[in-house]
């Protein structure tokens, strides 16, 4: 685990339709100096993106209403420089590759390890050379 005191605060937009999941993630990421704002659907996420600035976004691929990939496309239109990490409920590389094709930074399959996620987030924000285990 990274020592908290040396890590700058990262503003993160977490988009997932599972409220239980987003609420626990906010707590866990908060402990790792990552301030997460949550959106439970694509529309909400786009509204938030209009109002605020984020360093990174974590986006679930499978959501009710607007699909994760569609949200990704909209994100890339509104904020082309915003790194987006995709979350998938399954290990399908094909879906992930479609994400890459639309400019996703990386992808993770659920359930993942929090340390792995924070490493990728930091890498996305700072372009750090941390290696994931």
């Amino acid at each position: 685990m990274m020592p908290k005191e040396f890590t700058p605060i990262i503003r993160l937009l977490l988009v997932d339709d599972e409220v239980e999941f987003t609420s626990i993630m906010v707590k866990r990421l908060g402990r790792r100096n990552i301030v997460a704002t949550t959106a439970n659907n694509g529309d909400q996420a786009l509204l938030l993106l209009d109002k605020n600035t984020y360093d990174v976004a974590v986006l679930d691929l499978k959501m009710e209403g607007m699909d994760g990939l569609e949200v990704l496309k909209m994100f890339k239109l509104k904020a082309p420089d915003l790194p987006v990490i995709m979350l998938t409920g399954h290990g399908s590389q094909l879906a992930a590759e479609e994400g890459f094709a639309h400019g996703a930074f990386d992808y993770l399959s659920k359930p993942y390890d929090i340390e792995g996620l924070t490493q990728i987030i930091r890498k996305a924000v700072f372009g750090g050379r941390e290696q994931h285990e």
């Binding site: 409920g89 399959s109 994931h132």
Partner: protein, 583 residues
């Protein structure tokens, strides 16, 4: 190939029977029809030929005999009219005339005699002592006196020998006298005795009383003529004087006999030709036998052919059916697998989210345990252990769902060239921890250089990983063991072998190891999908997977894959391997 169930066997038996019957009928009908027509035509024309031949022959001979008789009559008539009675009554002159006749016509006329109205023989020339014979009581004399020219039936007469006579009546001063000539019986006999056809065909002459007029060494079925219409042409309606009568009769002995007859001597005699039916139609019967033999042999050939064809066809159909059934089963199986895959994919999607929440919640408690307040807690280690376990089980859930997803082929299907040895090295590295923990040494025997393989690398990874994990898991942790991985190449095939010194697989299980969800591992440790996936992948790569196993000695899995054509063009693939987990 599986055995056919009994109702199938019954079906094939009836199919075989039906083909057999169809072939026999289709082949036999033309054979029989053609054979029958030919036989009938041949029979008719041959019978006609025999009939015509015999009729002509009889007609000709009858004409000959008639001519012979007429000539003799003419001879005698001319002799009687050429010389006066007184001259003919002289024995010496008569003898002179006989000699002249015999010189001219051969020994046809045996003797000559002049007989007065009282039946006394006035003069005689011939070999018998009949000079003063008196024929007053003879039946023939009366008849001869009644007509100008008379030819008798054959009789024994005074000389006690069969003969017949030709007599000419002349008048001397109103008193009749006869010039009588005896026809040599032997010479006359020859006319008919020379008629021989086949083994049983012979001719004879009979008179109206059905008395033999010629000598015959053969048995004459005289009773056939008892009620003969022969001498009653009106009855038959045929002109027997011209056209011979042709009849087939059954003798008392049951023999079929044909006879051909024509009247002679103004209807007083008949020339009869007699022959056994069998003999007359011997060629016909022979031809019949030959055709029957041909028919029987043809029939046998057809039956044998039909048996062969029906057997052969049924075997082929059964084979085709079996292949079709296997294919159907495969289609059903793959359909099954596809639906299982879809179900698995659905479950995986749904399960991963709650599992993720569970893992995160556990993680959150772990995070909180880091805080000072809990450091002093008595059960801190127990908490940490429990949370670690929750996380570990969560990972297990993910692994299971990922396997299920892979099973449903949601993995990377891109086909590319890669080196199998490199992939094996990578995977054995990944598994080295697992192997160490399980007290297993991995031995690599990788043949270099090895041609590249053209396949989905992700899928190949899965295959190697599965086989390696299974091999490690088969080895008892306490005793330890070895896993040998060997690669080699022959011609166009690349072989990859994983051999372990583990527990082996029982024969019953060996049959089922590629079935989905079949696992020998304790419940919860294996999904039973690994080898089923491997099997599917290898099949898709046009490869083969072979298993050999001995209980308590270990198992050997050999996979053979076709080598790619260009071994050097190995494309090194860089996969994004993010999302790894700390364990």
């Amino acid at each position: 190939m599986g055995n056919n169930p009994p109702d199938r066997l019954e079906y094939y038996a009836s199919l075989k029977r039906n083909i057999f019957i169809a072939v026999v009928i289709v082949s036999m009908i033309p054979l029989i029809v053609f054979g029958s027509i030919t036989r009938y035509e041949f029979h008719t024309s041959y019978a006609e030929k025999v009939r015509a031949h015999l009729s002509i022959m009889v007609k000709k001979h009858a004409q000959n005999i008639d001519t012979f008789l007429k000539e003799r009559q003419a001879n005698i008539v001319s002799l009687a009219s050429s010389y006066p009675y007184e001259q003919l009554a002289d024995n010496a002159f008569l003898a002179q005339q006989l000699t002249r006749f015999q010189k001219t016509y051969g020994p046809v006329i045996t003797d000559l005699g002049i007989i007065n109205e009282k039946g006394e023989q006035i003069s005689y020339a011939g070999p018998f002592q009949l000079k003063d014979a008196n024929y007053a009581e003879s039946e023939w004399l009366k008849q001869a006196m009644a007509s100008d020219v008379y030819t008798s039936d054959v009789f024994m007469g005074l000389r006690r020998l069969p003969h017949f006579i030709v007599a000419v009546r002349s008048l001397k001063n109103g008193t009749p006298w006869l010039l009588r000539a005896t026809i040599d019986f032997m010479a006359f006999n020859e006319l008919v005795q020379n008629i021989h056809i086949g083994k049983t065909g012979f001719a004879f002459i009979i008179n109206k009383k059905i008395e033999m007029q010629t000598d015959s060494t053969r048995s004459v079925e005289k009773n056939l003529f008892r009620d003969a219409e022969l001498f009653h042409p009106d009855k038959t309606g045929t002109d027997i004087m011209n056209e011979p009568l042709f009849q087939t009769r059954t003798s008392d002995s049951g023999k079929e006999i044909i006879y051909v007859a024509r009247l002679l001597k103004n209807g007083e005699w008949a020339l009869v030709f007699q022959q056994d039916h069998l003999d007359a139609y011997s060629e016909l019967y022979r031809a019949r036998e030959v055709s029957l033999l041909t028919l029987v042999l043809g029939g046998i050939a057809i039956v044998l052919m039909a048996a062969w064809v029906s057997r052969h066809t049924t075997i082929k159909i059964a084979k085709a059916d079996q292949e079709k059934e296997i294919m159907n089963r495969q289609v059903i199986q793959s359909g099954h697998l596809a639906s299982i895959g879809m179900l698995a994919a659905g479950i995986a999607h749904e399960i991963n989210n709650p599992v993720a929440i569970m893992v995160e919640e556990a993680g959150w408690i772990e995070d909180l345990l880091e805080d000072e307040d809990f450091k002093e807690s008595e059960n801190l280690n127990e908490f940490k252990r429990a949370l670690g376990q929750i996380r570990k089980q969560g990972i297990r859930c993910r692994n299971i769902t990922h396997k299920m997803l892979n099973f449903s082929r949601h993995s990377d299907h891109r086909v590319q060239l890669f080196n199998l040895n490199e992939l094996i090295r990578e995977i054995t590295n990944l598994s080295s921890q697992h192997a160490k923990y399980s007290n297993v040494t991995i031995e690599l025997n990788l043949t270099e250089p090895l041609s590249s393989i053209k396949a989905s690398q992700t899928e190949m990874e899965q295959v190697i990983f599965n086989l390696l994990n299974n091999a490690i898991d088969a080895i008892d942790k306490k005793e330890g063991g070895k896993v040998r991985i060997h690669t080699w190449q022959d011609d166009s095939m690349i072989h990859f072998e994983v051999q372990d010194t583990g527990s082996g697989i029982s024969e019953a299980n060996l049959k089922r190891i590629f079935d989905p969800f079949f696992s020998t591992k304790p419940t919860g440790q294996g999904t039973g999908l690994g080898l089923s996936i491997c099997y599917g992948i290898v099949q898709k790569m046009n490869g083969q997977i072979v298993v050999e196993s001995t209980l308590e000695k270990g198992s050997r899995f050999e996979i053979s894959l076709p080598a790619a054509e260009s071994p050097e063009e190995t494309e090194t693939k860089t996969t994004k391997t993010t999302g790894s987990m700390t364990s």
